[in-house]
Symmetry: C2
Subunit: 275 residues, 2 copies
Amino acid sequence: MSENMRIWRGEEPVDAIDPGDRGLAYGDGLFETMRVHEGRVVWWQAHRQRLARGGDVLHIVMPDADFLCRQVDAIAADCADGVLKLILTRGIGERGYAVSAAARPTLVLALSDVPPPLPPAGLTLRWCDTRWAIQPPLAGIKHLNRLEQVLARAEWSDPAIHEGLVCDTAGRVVSATATNLFVLRDGRWLTPPVRDCGIAGICRDWLLRHVPGAAEAELRPADVESAPAIILCNAVRGILPVAALGERRWVPLDEVRRLVAVLAEAEPAFAAMPQ
Amino acid sequence: MSENMRIWRGEEPVDAIDPGDRGLAYGDGLFETMRVHEGRVVWWQAHRQRLARGGDVLHIVMPDADFLCRQVDAIAADCADGVLKLILTRGIGERGYAVSAAARPTLVLALSDVPPPLPPAGLTLRWCDTRWAIQPPLAGIKHLNRLEQVLARAEWSDPAIHEGLVCDTAGRVVSATATNLFVLRDGRWLTPPVRDCGIAGICRDWLLRHVPGAAEAELRPADVESAPAIILCNAVRGILPVAALGERRWVPLDEVRRLVAVLAEAEPAFAAMPQ
């Protein structure tokens, strides 16, 4: 086990994932992927709140808040810049879907490098054929059942394509495979709702709260392609301008530069990201 | 690690699940739950074929057939009666959904006892509020994304309720949480299709092939409640007659006894199961 990875069963440090862990058996758990900058986790409270919302939905008991914050602080403390992945599973289970009240959740914290920079001129996207299934009880939270994302991301291997946009089974645009989407329309930044599927991204939430006029709106593929600008975002890379989607090209607009600047001012971790 | 559990990375025996395994990170893998009887796995070829179908869908390379059969034979050889769970994941991955061609699949084999017998008079069922989402590319195969099943099974804790029936988001009855469903109508045993969601159960497939008139048919809740008999089935317990569903009661019919007898004659493992 790497020095940058730690595992607990309840609050007891352990060396390995048990093969009977329900996280492995059923994807019965949650995760968070977080940016670490200058020794602290960016948006930690928001990540912790989303984790707790997921715990409410799945009836997974959250680790003690002090314990969790202490471990996250400890692993982030010496890191100038990195990515911290947190996995919380229901713990070891008997065979079968029924949940044992006695299970102690498994917690994994793993620190890794920030991924390589993306082209400053903006990302190149494609449309995916994969559709997100409509399942409101599991929508929004960041659970471990991510085969749809794996299938969507497996649709291309061309390294010149950076991300793929995905619709739900009702034909509405929802997100990219690992990032949320905002579309500029009539001067406002709009992002699809995540009530039926998709993930309530932490950077998405931040933009909805801090950018005047930003709002949720149902979007069809034509709404995306006809927009004067679109961006992707996530909690690791912040805002990612988009330069191309299939045949469609976008030139950098002031509205995008302003959006990037607002985030960079509030969260210096994202000031240094290549835009 | 229990003596009855073995793990391989590719064909190399290992001691533990790596915390970076994509089976844990994304539920990126498959499983089979199999009955072992008198030293052999019941319906092994059918389980292996379903596993291979899942591998085709998820682009997970199957273990070498000889290697896999040898390991399964070895763990089953000394077992008079038990349950063998097989998990096959894509293996250890980098962070992110993209698949590395270099990943060696992780294989877990775990032998456990046959679960306690169910009431010979038949099971008591309920309707679940949880719905299976419609996702045709993932339907039928036995992948590791099973949060829907976990949510459905968590709807009740009363030990007098044995299973719950689940509809899809379009209102069609599909299955129970861990078993397939057959409904007697006009003298024929009918089971819902698994094209949009649900799992192509191995016992379900056996019955479709070996019982004259057995077929797939779309079923609504009223079709189930008005049927003269319904049964559940899976590869561990075989056929499970149903005695009650909510307020509805069923008395044992000759058609059910005949169905149980046909299976018991073909597969002695299920002759001893309490019916």
